[in-house]
Amino acid sequence: MGRTLAEKVWADHVVRQGDGEPDLLYIDLHLVHEVTSPQAFDGLRAAGRGVRRPDLTLATEDHNVPTVDVDRPIADPVSRTQVETLRRNCGEFGVRLHPLGDADQGIVHVVGPQLGLTQPGTTVVCGDSHTSTHGAFGALAFGIGTSEVEHVLATQTLPQPRPKTMAVTVDGKLPAGVSAKDLTLSLIAQVGTGGGQGHVVEYRGEAIRALSMEARMTICNMSIEWGAKAGLIAPDETTFGYLRGRPHAPTGADWDAAVAYWQSLVTDDDAAFDREVVLDAAAVTPFVTWGTNPGQGVPLAGVVPSPDDFDDEGDRTAAERALAYMDLTPGTRMREIEVDTVFVGSCTNGRIEDLRAAAKVVSGRHVADNLRMLVVPGSTRVRLQAEAEGLDTVFKAAGAEWRGAGCSMCLGMNPDTLAPGERAASTSNRNFEGRQGKGGRTHLVSAQVAAATAVAGQLAAPADLPDSSNPREG
């Protein structure tokens, strides 16, 4: 019988198989950041071990770094210690680091792909759950904890139980004005936050094939939000086109050899998945969350649900709790929900395509009174590219704040946080209680909806806005 894409990549990385043991997988690329690595490096030191393959390891500073005054010492002493610890560890163990101020600094999941290090058929791990992002290239990529970070540093391998496989097939075409973020949010609302648990998911079908690499990364990024171990997409001409010419992409005869292998990375026609989910792309509309997990979402055209709408008692209780936390009344139209803050950024929607989409909406317009809009590029390279295209001017003219690169308000580890009771429309990936700041309330949205919301002052799609007097070209 044929094999799935995930099974092929898995098989090509098995170092050792034994009865009653998990497979020992070889790791092609290990990404490291300041928050989940200090204890792992300490573990190496305590055991007298080194980093086995520093040449397969890359570190950047992203989670707690400030997005203003990046040329000055970090003001928060605890954050500064954590960042300095990473710098010291990378120096001591010979790991390549892109620190604050470097052109290749940024969110690990933006930096890996833009350097061409994330390649089809590789295994990629990082002490961060959104490592699933790299699956967009047909890589098997998943988040790990600090003990596993130490394990990979010491051995370049990881013992892993074999996951089950699932297919999410998205037939048809996404309607105009509907993005990959809308697709993934509507998928999660359908399958639930635990729907993918124990599975590696392959996204396939006409709508997935039509997506850009940036949009595919958005889809794969959110795999963890419905519990999947990893999410991947078979590499194709879109993938090869993105990689060609990137700093670490193969060249010459190596490129040809790599492409020949990459082209074999497809699910065989007679392969079977353990589970399958089918979606109709044409039915997807702009989608937003109302609650405190990414599965609690509705179409932007919908209303805040009532706990009574849920059959399952657990879902009903969770809805009651979420409505209380979010301070929302059932039946309220989503478009009537006013927000204080709009955040455009994160490893979900902080790439150049997202910034272009948001800039196009706010161009010639202005953010609503008393509303704060933060635009945080996913990497310094993205920031530089956006500035070369004049996007920073567009955002600033609209009254938005143009920031340095990092995770920023996605998780609120740096000073970019929501105040208690503040409400945000955010292009990030988690609307958990307190995620963006204690007492803060988060609605997950696409870059397009975020930008339109910034202008309207309440949840909105670009089509809801009156024509701008000075529309930007394209």
Binding site: Y26, R96, Q119, I224, P247, P250, L411, G434
Partner: protein, 205 residues
């Protein structure tokens, strides 16, 4: 890692589902560079409510947390496991765990035991009637026992064989892998030359 064979302790009922790791320990508490000292961050936002289970006298000294479905979803932060351990928990019972949390627990020596949702509900009910009830978890037998006599809940729990074996013997994963060094070297020798390497560094600039 210390071996884990059996544990008896006071149980606390966390009657919530979808407890993500941001709730277990908010990001603001992740800045420490040590492996200990995270007890203050455990359920930090919820603990500001005096009625929260861990603030009630019946949960004092609890070492077994009995939680709703999908405990430990979201972020990969192992700090969530460390915070539970620092606070005094040795065992978490739930009907489903986030994959990364469950894996982290197994590495750090916290027993994440998967039980039927009905068992969770039964233990919650028992705790209503008998606060400070002791639960005994036996990893060798994969069984749990809560309460006494006719009122007791006795059942089995799930944990994968390999994690169970490692916990029972207190084995370190890295030592096990290093014992297979020859196989790792053989695999490395077979890797295609065009596979990406981070060094020497190449950048676009």
């Amino acid at each position: 890692m210390d071996a884990f064979t059996q544990h008896s302790g006071v149980a606390a009922a966390l009657r919530r589902s979808n407890v993500d790791t941001d709730q277990i320990i908010p990001a603001a508490y992740l800045k420490r560079v040590t492996r200990t000292g995270f007890a203050d961050g455990l359920f930090a936002a919820w603990r500001s409510d005096p009625g929260f289970v861990l603030n009630r006298p019946e949960a004092a000294g609890a070492s077994i947390l009995v939680a709703g479905q999908d405990f430990g979803t979201g972020s990969s932060r192992e700090h969530a496991v460390w915070a539970l351990q620092d606070y005094g928990f040795r065992v978490v019972l739930a009907s489903r765990f986030g994959d990364i949390f469950r894996s982290n627990a197994g590495k750090a020596g916290l027993l994440a035991a998967e039980v039927d949702a009905k068992v969770v509900a039964a233990i919650w009910d028992l705790l209503e009637r008998e606060p400070r009830m002791t639960v005994t978890v036996d990893l060798a037998e994969r069984t749990l026992l809560a309460g006494v006599d006719a009122d007791r809940v006795q059942d089995s729990f799930d944990i994968d064989d390999y994690t169970r074996w490692r916990l029972l013997h207190g084995l370190d994963d890295i030592d096990i892998t290093l014992s297979h060094a020859a196989e790792v070297e053989a695999f490395e020798a077979s890797r295609p030359v065009w596979k990406p390497m981070t060094m020497p560094a190449r950048t676009a600039g």
